[in-house]
Symmetry: C2
Subunit: 161 residues, 2 copies
DNA sequence: ATGGTCGCGCAATTTTATTGCGCTGGATGG
DNA sequence: CCATCCAGCGCAATAAAATTGCGCGACCAT
């Protein structure tokens, strides 16, 4: 599952634009289309590339507001966590959800059209599951957002180039 | 820029899998390939669809750890914000960056291989810009992560269907 | 040196995207 | 009420891209 320099360059390109023809990717990484295509296939089979998706403009679909919701709980057990996860899965407004260390137990990112819609979301949420301590922080603006992961840490084999 | 039911269905599909052939999308939304294709084109022109990207598995590229970094500052002016943004742009580890209301001024999500790499990142960051108050919260696990935005809020025109 | 393997590139072949064109229903204005 | 217009659809042709089959040369371990 190790990646060499060419693989990483391919990934870097695909993370920016997944519509780029394989032939062009090949040209940019110094490879003909066939080997380039096979590398991409392999990375998809290996699960390095999970999927290809369309990224929408949040404002254009009326979810321009991001809220970070911190949750503290008394329930520190597997079963409760599963239930919580299940509930969250039902909410498409929750686009990210993390189990945290430290002060807060869970953190989620929620996208909504406005404050009022957040309130509606909030009420629906607490009606589905009992939460001890919830705290909401509103984002005034998104300065940076990327789906592209840094590739500088990826495991490499030989790669003297 | 309004979207009808079919548009939203198309977006929903493309948010999950952008490799799906237009013909198949058309079939699923009850349309032949041409009008379906044209709708997609229009949504790309309108910027509703921003781009299509490959989503990688964080663990597979060795950035399995997420850290949320909260920043408070004394510098509350446009110029400083621009500088900060510029600095952050240089760090591919920072995948999200928000200007916040309330307690914290800025919040960013950082992805790294491990705690040690985070420390390295942290040191590099504070060497680039002077930050008054920084607080790091480690995610123990990512329970949910999706690039798919909820479409239930999107503006609709007629759409009696 | 020799057999085996891996990764490459070329040249089909297949699949998908893209375009041109004509049809139809509903809305418009006289 | 009728003629006209326009938006959006589908079919069929064309162009572009993906996918596959095959042979070649480099490298490794015998």
């Amino acid at each position: 599952m190790a990646l060499d320099k060419i693989d990483r360059k391919i990934l870097s390109l695909l993370q920016k634009d997944a519509t780029m023809p394989v032939a062009e990717i090949g040209r940019k990484v110094g490879l003909s289309t066939t080997p380039c295509w096979r590398r991409i296939q392999k990375m998809e089979e290996d699960g390095v590339i999970q999927r290809r998706v369309a990224v929408l403009d949040p404002s254009k679909v009326n979810v321009g507001v991001t809220v970070f919701v911190s949750v503290k709980t008394n329930e520190h057990n597997e079963a409760w966590m599963r239930k919580f996860s299940g509930v969250i899965d039902e909410f498409p407004e929750v686009v990210e959800f993390y189990r945290m260390s430290g002060d807060v137990d869970y953190l989620m990112r929620v996208v909504v059209p406005d404050i009022h819609a957040y309130d509606t979301f909030y009420k629906r949420l607490i009606s589905k599951i009992n939460l001890t301590d919830v705290s909401s922080a509103f984002a005034m603006g998104q300065i940076k957002y990327t789906t592209a992961l840094p590739l500088d840490f990826a495991i490499v084999v030989d790669d003297d180039k």
